[in-house]
């Protein structure tokens, strides 16, 4: 694989709650190669979205703070940049798209103007150039008749077209890395397939790297090169898609896979993971998955397992991993 374009080292997000600190994202480290699509999966509250907001240094509340060794992108360390420097990185180097396009597009601004705004700001293009570029980007994301549609308002677009428009806004600034936070969750399944296909095409055409956040392993399985699984704020397994899906080593990854409705072809009882995720203000001292884990030993309760390399491009945080030969 090509050298890492984005290097994240020990990134934490900590919330101040009264007198104590609650760690919401705990020392996240990963690399993202050029043209790589990384799927970040986990259940709600596992810290996926917060981790990606932390990369952009856009934390949703002043009570949250960022700690970490480094977030390196294009010879810059995002954690060391001042706010003006960070502003130049957002959009130009790191683009982001969200789950609900309606709430992230300005309803009073024409689609073309929203795309052109970023182009003019980051590339210093003239009004006319930016408009031409906006039409070109709209064409690339598959909006029919972009010359007319560039003057539409968001409400004139359908849900799928709005998601395409938001992708166009992000692409207009020509970012190297695109963070897509549940980009298809609000869409119907047939439209979901269209948008995922579009993201794959953009990667192939522009060499764009992506972090795709999803709670649906099915979405990730069909689009990503590598998968990182998060549980209660920590990365528990990270590896190539093929390896992780066919031979998950962490009991939680295996559980998530087994729970997927498509995991078992026949009818009948579904697999489940008993219990529920821990509250982040009352975390167990040891492994956070231990109370729900069938493999747990006393060690797991006592000591938090650290993420370590177990094979080429495969990392795991577990004291009692599943055997490499499949589910034990």
């Amino acid at each position: 694989m090509s050298p890492a374009l984005l290097q994240v080292r020990e990134l934490s997000v900590i919330a101040r709650a009264g007198q104590r600190d609650i760690t919401l994202v705990d020392r996240l480290s990963f690399d993202l190669g050029e043209g790589e699509i990384l799927g970040l999966v986990g259940e709600s509250g596992s810290g996926k979205t917060l981790a990606c907001r932390a990369l952009m240094r856009l934390l949703p509340s002043p009570n949250l703070r960022l700690e970490g060794q480094a977030v390196r992108l294009a010879s810059n360390d995002l954690l060391r940049l001042d706010e003006a420097g960070m502003r130049r990185m957002r959009g130009r180097e790191l683009g982001m798209i969200f789950q609900n396009p309606s709430s992230h597009l300005d309803p009073l601004m024409r689609i073309g103007a929203q795309i052109a705004e970023g182009i003019r700001l980051h590339q210093g293009a003239s009004r006319r150039e930016a408009r031409a570029e906006a039409i070109e980007v709209l064409r690339q994301v598959g909006i029919p008749d972009p010359k007319t549609r560039v003057d539409s308002y968001p409400h004139e677009f359908s849900g799928g077209m709005r998601q395409r428009a938001m992708i166009a806004v992000a692409l207009g600034c020509n970012p190297k890395v695109l963070i897509a936070d549940e980009p298809t969750t609000a869409l119907d399944v047939t439209v979901q397939a269209q948008i995922l296909r579009l993201l794959l095409e953009l990667r192939d055409r522009r060499g764009l790297s992506m972090i795709l956040i999803s709670h649906d392993l099915g979405v990730v399985a069909q689009t990503c090169d590598s998968i990182a699984v998060m549980y209660a704020g920590r990365l528990c397994e990270h590896g190539a898609k093929q390896a992780l899906l066919s031979q998950p080593r962490h009991p939680y990854s295996a559980g998530l896979l087994a729970c997927h409705p498509a995991a078992r072809r026949h009818t009948g009882l579904m697999n489940t993971i008993a219990g529920q995720p821990p509250l982040l203000d009352a975390l167990p001292a040891g492994c956070r998955f231990e109370p729900r884990c069938l493999q747990a030993t006393p060690d797991c309760r006592a000591q938090l397992p650290e993420l370590r390399v177990i094979g080429p491009g495969h990392r795991l945080a577990c004291h009692t991993p599943l055997l490499a030969g499949g589910l034990s």
Binding site: S44, Q194, L200, A221, P277
Partner: protein
């Protein structure tokens, strides 16, 4: 098996916004457009389709929560649309609904015990003195500890709240439960727990289940039959395994193809279904699916395809996919 619910050519219309200042020419949206289906006692029918296709409206019209404009809803043989107050009261006693968002379906100011006791009290199912015992029994039935009766919904997790919603539905000892996207808001590990609970209750109590969802994977686990809706019409209906493995209607085929599968060897469809569901305000002529259909013939835009029966399966398409 006896037929518990029979829906014949049901139409539901809503007044549409617009139509001018004086509303001289009121426009109508046909949310449900001639839907027919039947459900036997103890059977589970999955109702699938994309958002806005009329799944929830159909379910609400069946339960007489939304007035239908024409058609029949036969519950246990009698037409509820023509029914008097006693018929509707019986319908309320013998059917129950589970909702998508478990938090907003429960009163946040009531304790779980009060929420369940209220149903028992209104329906006069058990003597007042026995209500606390029955509440504990109901909680046990859905796998919750009896102590939770003292808690309020805000202090429960999403999965626990959904279990309370199911316990409330069971309180009337219904013969039919309508579940509207009841696992869509839950995490996958919790989703499985709720589905297994419904499967178990169905078996033990002989419940009939109308299960509305956009997730085809869940239907495969839970349901015997599946009905696929597109823009107010049921375009295909049949046994789950047959419909999924060998869909007749091109829309069903596209839906099945779009299921996000965890098999890494399965790729995204190379040419996913283009376009998006049309607006019910301006439905296409003829078959509503024809503008997106790759196999559409000129006649598809002209006539609404009638429903064909074929060995326990139904489809509404003039050139269905051939059996594999």
């Amino acid at each position: 098996m006896t037929t518990l619910l029979q829906v014949n050519d049901l139409h539901v219309q809503f007044p549409a916004p617009g139509g001018g200042l004086l509303n001289l020419r009121p426009r109508k949206i046909n949310a449900v457009n001639g839907a027919s289906l039947s459900l036997a006692a103890g059977q589970a029918l999955g109702l699938v389709g994309e958002s806005g296709c009329g799944k929830s409206t159909l379910a609400r019209a069946i339960l007489q929560l939304t007035p239908a404009s024409s058609g029949q809803v036969l519950f246990d043989g009698s037409d509820m649309r023509q029914g008097n107050r006693l018929d509707i009261e019986r319908l309320r006693r013998e059917t129950a609904m589970i909702f998508q968002d478990p938090y907003s379906a429960l009163n946040p100011r009531q304790r779980i015990g009060q929420i369940l006791a209220e149903v028992l009290h209104v329906q006069r199912r058990v003597p007042t003195a026995q209500i606390p015992a029955r509440v504990a029994e109901l909680l046990g039935l859905v796998g919750l500890r009896a102590e939770l009766a003292e808690r309020k919904p805000g202090s429960l997790s999403g999965g626990q709240c959904q279990r309370v919603g199911i316990a409330r539905a069971l309180a009337v000892e219904p013969r039919l439960i309508v579940a509207d996207e009841c696992v869509a808001a839950l995490d996958v590990s919790i989703q499985g727990q709720i589905i297994n609970l419904l499967l178990d209750l169905r078996q033990r109590m002989g419940l009939a289940l109308l299960f509305i969802t956009h997730d085809l994977g869940v239907v495969r686990h839970l349901c015997d039959r599946v009905a696929v809706m597109y823009l107010g019409r049921i375009v295909e209906e049949g046994p789950v395994a047959e419909v999924f493995d060998d869909p007749r209607h091109p829309y069903t085929a596209a839906l099945v193809q779009s299921i996000a599968d965890i098999d890494p060897a399965r790729r995204l469809p190379q040419h996913p279904l283009a376009g998006e569901p049309p607006s019910p305000l301006q439905p296409p002529s003829g078959c509503a699916f024809h503008p997106r259909c790759r196999h559409a013939l000129p006649q598809c835009g002209a006539d609404i395809p009638p429903s064909h029966a074929e060995g326990g399966r139904y489809h509404a398409c003039v050139h269905p996919r051939l059996p594999c």
